[in-house]
Amino acid sequence: MSANTAVAEKYRNNFLKEIEEQVEMGDWVKMCMQCGVCSGSCPTNFQSAWEHPPQELFMMILAGKREEVLTSSSMWNCTSCYNCIVRCPRKLPITHIMHGIAEYAHRLGMAPKMQPTRFFSGLFWKNCTHTGRVNELKLSLGLYFKDGFVQGVKNGMAMQAVAIGLLKARRLNPFELFGGHKCKDQTGIQAMLKKAYEIERSRKTAKMAG
């Protein structure tokens, strides 16, 4: 793609159309009126966690900034507090759109690999679908060791006091590390999930094929 055609694509409707068709609730994006109430209401944005606040992401979609939007970590920062949805004067389901874009970026493999939310989401899903029950010890350890062994040990030491407190209160069972508890019908769960995957995959493939 030459530089000129790249500019030609810019500020055209194509990416917007893509979002509208591929992303859950994506057809709402064009209704944003850029008031910025969502950004002002976002509790995470107060800590400057967002590179692009929601209304800016919407504008980038209108402006056709495909690469920047899909590789952005911004929508992954959403904590689903729903403040923006409650306050949006245009009634955009912003939280859902954020998750929709994140999911689409993930599907395309464009989402930032080690983004903590994305990493944790994957970890959680794997953890809970494995036995049908969430193994909290494995889940938190998995997150501690996200950035390598040394950092994992450091993280563990930092959380030492909390862990000992939990042990004393019998809220943490160290033996969970070995196998852990399971649900009764593990095969049933796996079959159910397999079917669900199948349904969703066929639906999304059909959608992407147009």
Partner: protein, 743 residues
């Protein structure tokens, strides 16, 4: 002067009887007021009280009535004696309601009431009941200048009300700008798509109406006369002139789009593919006549992408272009984007705006455009570069912070250039500036008035015609001439139609009042008018120059000639006259001067200062009345005289007051300057110019400058006015008593 018999009536109702010694007030009226007939009544404004006054008029030969009761602004229907001169002493809002009901306050409160009785008696003797101006005309025909939406609506509305109309249109067809539109912004539910303009319907209504006389290809060659008796020469294309007798005039001359050739950086005039909004309407109309596809002017290829540039040459801070927002163009661009989207949703339509302003139900319309896929980009367009059959639009993206954003291969660029009023000649433009060519002038006069002030109505800002923006939006400073539509301020069709209806009704009111010799707003129904004692006139021309309404002309000997029907009765001429030969029957140098002199001035050892307040009857006096209604207390040392306008204040009143031993004078008028609130537009400004020279007078009297205070008071200053009075009273204590007391 015929024999006068004055009667004074003191009311005891509303607590006046309990708070004041009304018997003493009756005695004051007899002794100091020298009134032969003075009475008190328990409840003067009820049927019995009014009957008593009417009986005295009929049987006792009472001609002049002094009522000591509530404010002159209250109970006007009960105390309505049109055949008699009536003065009102404000004992309720002006005395008992603003004073505490305590034993210590009783004495000063009573003194206040006594002074108001003296003032009322003095005033009424200086008055006569006004009989109305004899120089009237009874034409009931309305002249409407301009055959656009505003003009046609005015004509139709006036005709429906039963008045005949002469409609003059410069071009060969009715319709104006709206007639050139393909469609208009919707004004009915669900506000989703462009609607029919309705112009054809208006045109057919005008053509079918036998009450409306239509001149096409015609202009106004001359306008002479006054409300009720305008004589207007209509010049037609053939060179013939038709003379029409006109009662009142509505100028609906509309606007011209700002010339896009002045915007070369936005591609204006550089390519046929850069058009203004009117250009796009023409393309859309042409397309609608064909296959519905809007085509690129340069080569006729279907338009695949179009960019709308908002605020082109508008809201400009550099001073080169229009500084204001025209208010209609965001909705118009949204509408025009829909022209494309409704035919083919695949056409890229982008509106680049800095602030999207969609008045009326434009918000729904905006949302509908978003649903249809129109892209709204917040940005400021820096440059439009046409190349071949397409253009590149460079802009600063204000949301994404991209200063060098651009769109390429744009087939069509539409510039939203805004409205420039067709208001005729700027009569206030200094002649030198016009000659030097430093200011752009529109050389063609619209009304060609034969007034000494100039051929057109005055302008306020940016060439829009002047009006009292807050209270009387259609009124120009030429009585009986109303402006409506975009010539007055930028507006869309819906607003223009509302404006047209309002102006039609105001014009009808004006010609009806003119026939009866009465004033139009704000002293609506006032029968008094300025009378000039020409023997004393020095031909200084101050009255003719200062009259804000162009009511006073000069005769061949350069004496002033009052056109009573053009007059708004503000009294600015009276305030301006250095030899004091101008007066009204019920308001004159003497009627106010006598009140000033009637006040009893205690000696300097009594520690009872006297402060004269001359309060504008439109804003300051109502504010003072309302302060009374809210029981906001103020000093008992003030004596308040309502005046018609700060412009009517003659400096002799101030000199007289200071000479008589008043310790201070407060003048309360409306805000002046560009953001004026004066009901007579320029009255308070002219008054203040005059007062700025009062320091000289004070110097000759050897008095401190604190003795005269000029204040801006708005009608809402209900709490602020008492505070200002009390503050000033305290300041005067520090200055000390006036040295003129006791002479």
């Amino acid at each position: 002067m015929a024999d006068i018999k004055v009667a004074a009536y003191i009311c005891k109702g509303c607590g006046l009887g309990e708070r004041l010694d009304t018997d003493a007030l009756v005695k004051i009226a007899q002794k100091d007021g020298k009134v032969p007939l003075a009475k008190s009544h328990d409840f003067l404004c009820n049927a019995d009280g009014v009957a008593m006054i009417k009986n005295d008029i009929a049987n006792e030969g009472v001609t002049h009535i002094m009522i000591g009761a509530c404010s002159r602004r209250a109970k006007t229907e009960a105390f309505n004696f049109p055949e008699n001169a009536v003065a009102r002493a404000n004992l309720r809002e002006g005395v008992v309601w603003i004073r505490p009901d305590t034993d210590e306050a009783r004495e000063t409160t009573q003194e206040m009431a006594e002074d108001y009785i003296r003032m009322g008696c003095a005033e009424v003797k200086a008055m006569t009941a006004p009989a109305g101006n004899p120089n009237t005309g009874g034409s009931k025909t309305l002249l409407v200048v301009g055959g656009g939406v505003t003009g046609m609506t005015t004509a139709i509305e006036a005709s429906k009300t039963g008045y005949s109309v002469v409609l003059v249109e410069k071009s060969g067809a009715l319709g104006g700008w709206a007639g050139k539109l393909y469609k208009r912004t919707p004004v009915h539910e669900p506000y989703k798509s462009p609607a029919d303009t309705g112009v054809a319907d208006l045109v057919s209504q005008v053509l079918a109406d036998s009450n409306i006389k239509l001149y096409l290809n015609a202009t106004i060659a001359k306008t002479d006369g006054a409300p009720g008796r305008f004589v207007v020469d209509v010049a037609t294309e053939s060179g013939a002139t038709h003379t029409e007798d006109i009662g009142a005039i509505v100028q609906a001359t509309g606007f011209t789009l700002y010339d896009m050739n002045k915007l070369p950086e936005l591609g204006g005039g550089k390519s046929p593919n850069v058009v203004d909004q009117a250009g796009l309407e023409a393309l859309a109309s042409a397309a609608a006549a064909g296959d519905g596809v809007i085509r690129r002017p340069s080569d006729g290829a279907p338009v695949k992408s179009v960019v709308f540039v908002q605020c082109a040459g508008q809201r400009d801070t550099t001073g080169q272009h229009l500084s204001y927002c025209s208010g209609f163009c965001c909705n118009a661009s949204i509408k025009q984007a829909m022209y494309f989207k409704d035919v083919n949703p695949d056409v890229d339509t982008t509106i680049i705006y800095t602030d999207l302003r969609t008045p009326g139900n434009g918000e729904d319309f905006y949302r509908s455009a978003q649903e249809k896929g129109v892209i709204f980009t917040k940005g400021k367009v820096a440059e439009v570069m046409p190349m071949g059959n397409t253009s590149t639009v460079k802009f600063n993206d204000l949301i994404l912070g991209d200063t060098d954003a651009s769109m390429v291969d744009v087939d069509l660029v539409v510039l939203a250039t805004g409205q420039v009023p067709n208001s005729g000649v700027n009569i206030e433009l200094p002649a030198e500036a016009a000659e030097a060519g430093t200011v752009e002038i529109k050389p063609i006069s619209i009304l060609n008035l034969s007034y000494r002030q100039g051929p057109d109505v005055p302008q306020l800002k940016q060439g829009f015609t002047d009006s009292h923006f807050i209270c009387f939006p259609y009124e120009t400073r030429r009585t009986g001439i109303y402006t409506a539509g975009p010539v007055r301020r930028p507006m869309d069709i819906a607003q223009a139609r509302e404006d047209a209806t309002g102006a039609a009704l105001k014009a009808i009111q004006a010609l009806e009042n003119a026939e009866l010799g009465r004033a139009a707003h704000p002293r609506s129904g006032d029968l008094s008018f300025p009378k000039i004692r020409l023997e004393g006139c020095t031909q200084c021309k101050r009255c003719t120059v200062e009259c804000p309404f162009g009511a006073i002309d000069e005769d061949e000997k350069r004496f002033p000639v009052v056109n009573e029907s053009r007059c708004r009765r503000c009294g600015t001429c009276m305030g301006a006259c250095p030899v004091r030969v101008i007066s009204f029957d019920n308001y004159s140098i003497n009627s106010v001067g006598a009140q000033i002199k009637a006040v009893d001035i205690p000696d300097e050892f009594s520690e009872k200062p006297r402060i004269l307040i001359l309060a504008c009857e439109n804003d300051a006096y109502p504010a003072l009345d309302m302060a009374g209604m809210s029981r906001n207390e103020y000093s008992a040392f003030v004596r308040i005289i309502p005046i018609r306008c700060l412009g009517s204040v003659n400096t002799i009143w101030i000199t007289d007051a200071l000479n008589a031993g008043y310790d201070g004078v407060m003048l309360m008028g409306c805000k002046s300057g560009d953001e004026y609130q004066c009901h007579f537009v320029k009255g308070s400004e002219l008054g203040r110019v005059r007062l700025s020279k009062i320091d000289d007078t004070l110097k000759t009297l050897n008095l401190e400058s604190e003795r005269v205070r000029d204040l801006e008071v708005a009608i809402t200053d209900i709490e602020r006015v008492p505070e200002m009075i009390n503050k000033y009273a305290a300041e005067l204590v520090a200055v000390g008593p006036s040295p003129f007391k006791g002479f």
